[in-house]
Symmetry: C2
Subunit: 401 residues, 2 copies
């Protein structure tokens, strides 16, 4: 059972944007009253039209919903693409309230799928209208909405939290998508988090950015940053009766939000037929957290590290050397490495170890844990990624356009 | 026929450091008189012992030779590794001149192979002694030396130039190695260039760095920077009779050197059973050459771009979006892309094109040419890389240690 916040309705329908018959490809999420919305977006300079539109509308306290299509990213589509993204929000507003009291700018928009093709707007319009008819506050509506944002994901990705906040039962629910190891198109990450905790727009933005920095910004598949990455949070409007959370309340909420975001984010590299390992990289001893993050990312993006894990090969030189070219200062003389808790390298010298034992521990578990010390500083970071195997290459080198 | 400069002798022998019986794994190159030496080295902070030793000895005007072993990188080997690297140069000096007139610091040293294992010094010493016995100024000696530096390379990599410099016949010859697509260990790049053109040490260093920036610094396989990358140039000592090249002579020499270095460097991504395409990426319109280089590199390191080329997929969104996250400013509104001369994207808008024609042109040639404009600036760059296919993953995920 998913713990859904009250006041939100969901739908996900099929409108034949995706080539697979019957696959849901339009999602609509509606708040019964104007809600708080915050957003974190791709930093790619080649940015899809829906990102430009949604970015200009957050943070906000007048948002009434989010409209999403999958199967087409509406990216690299110029002026027409921008018009289409705006039109999606206009269609959503008029479909949700045919009396015309809602405006386009009260909706956020997301797209994911192939780049460089114009949206089939007739199909999109039909999908939005159908979704508006099916809006529901129950679990099935939510699950349909979750399915409507997926592309090549193997599994639906959801997480929820229900907790007490100063005597008030509070909910956070989230859905996300990421193409995992098998993104034949672009591994766009989309995520929508919804809570009934009341907060101000700037506060929502701050809490969401903080959660993103610990979760969605700490995962990678192949490190190819999408034109469409979007993370949005919808939250309740503060009222006289229930003002914005603050102090200890905010700290408790933030902690629940961070944890849920991490749970959700880890599902992305964990997904996919191709991925045989989820790799958790933990760095300590860097000068700063940002330096530690750069080291973790350098290791996570090394094909040589990824393929070594695929093969259960304790080829630790690949890990240590990837740390050495991360572009931030490290202290080779204090460098120490463990794989799955087994020490392999310490203070710049190789340690004797039983290769078969390390290999067995990598091969015997979906999760591989890499612990690397790079100096004596206070900086630390975590990063989650996948291994790299022939399935990934096969899927991504298929002729798809 | 290779055009060898006079005054240098070569040998490459097998000393069983590599597991493959009979494979040459010790190379010795000797200058009959003290020569000029310049070097360019890995910028990885995790740096192998031979790099530390050679780096401290260039630029120089007293060098008598270079000793190389393959099959073991002598990297991440701490104090003992450093002692072993110095010992290799001492062994080379005494083997080349048993009378003891040569000193260890007149030799440079390089190693390539597996990381984190101590050198088998008895085998290395035997190899150096055997190589000193076989030193020869003829082509066979040179070819043996070229083979002795290879690891998983499929093909021997050499290039040469013979040209007139102000009435004097001048030679440059070079050898290099790089593991190409099939680097089950580390894709260490080693290269040695030798010329009979006379020059000063600082001048040699400047010319070599300039050539490296246009060649060996513009190639990638998977972007994993080695602990051992080393590029060395040996040049003739200026004499009263033939002083250091200068002015128009230097410009002519530099142009020959650059071209030869590019020819040699391209052989690295071009090599390997795994690599089905050599990808040449040409960027124009960036604000600076350095910005253009960053864009080229971002595209070259994208697994999604590489796999698209493997599959002959004109999935140009992957290329354009990789440019967008290179971390340098681009102008999306002036962005234009051609693959193999076929325009696909112009000024931020997709162009109509026949997918099957582009696919055919990619599949029909080993070379894929990507031309990307990213703005209206004067900055340009070239970069050469490989595609990514299942062979690469298979080789690199094999259990190798």
């Amino acid at each position: 059972m998913v713990h859904l916040p009250l006041g939100f309705r969901f739908a996900g329908v099929s409108s034949n944007i995706k080539s697979r018959p019957g696959a849901r490809d339009v999602t609509l999420i509606v708040s019964d009253v104007p809600c708080i919305a915050a957003g974190v977006y791709t930093t790619n300079q080649i940015v899809a039209a829906p990102v430009v539109v949604s970015r200009s509308r957050t943070p906000s306290n007048t948002v009434r919903g989010v409209v999403v299509n999958s199967g087409n990213a509406n990216a690299c589509t110029g002026t027409r693409g921008h018009q289409d993204a705006v039109e999606m929000t206009r269609l959503a507003a008029s479909a949700v309230d045919p009396k015309g009291k809602l405006t386009a700018d009260q909706f956020l928009v997301m797209s994911t799928g192939v780049i460089g093709r114009f949206l089939p707007m007739e199909k999109v319009a039909a999908g939005i209208n159908a979704a508006a008819q099916q809006l529901s506050g129950n679990e099935q509506g939510f699950l349909n909405a979750c399915d409507g944002i997926l592309t090549t994901d193997i599994a639906r990705k959801i997480a929820d939290r229900k907790f007490d906040l100063n005597g008030k039962t509070t909910h956070i629910v989230g859905m996300c998508k990421g193409a995992g190891m098998i993104g034949p198109k672009m591994a766009t990450m989309l995520a929508i988090l919804i809570t009934d905790a009341p907060m101000e727009p700037a506060q929502a933005q701050r809490l969401l950015q903080s959660a993103a920095n610990k979760s969605f910004n700490c995962i990678s598949v192949e490190g190819h940053m999408s034109t469409n990455d979007t993370l949005v949070m919808l939250a309740a409007q503060p009222t006289a009766d229930r003002p914005a959370i603050q102090g200890a309340e905010e700290i408790a909420f933030s902690s629940q939000l961070d944890e849920m975001a991490i749970e959700l984010a880890k599902k992305i590299p964990d997904d996919g037929e191709g991925a045989t390992h989820l790799i958790e990289i933990r760095i300590v001893g860097a000068n700063t957290d940002a330096d530690a993050d750069a080291v973790a990312r350098s290791i996570a993006l090394s094909n040589l590290v990824k393929t070594a894990i695929t093969g259960g090969d304790p080829n630790w030189g690949r890990i240590v050397s990837a740390a050495g070219y991360a572009g931030v200062p490290i202290r080779p003389e204090y460098t120490a490495l463990e794989i799955n808790g087994i020490p392999l390298f310490d203070r710049g010298e190789p340690l004797p170890f039983e290769a078969s034992v390390v290999s067995k521990s990598i091969k015997g578990s979906k999760l591989t844990e890499i612990d690397l010390r790079v100096g004596l500083g206070p900086g630390s970071a975590k990063h989650w990624t996948t291994d790299l195997n022939t399935e990934y290459v096969r899927f991504n080198s298929e002729y798809t356009t």
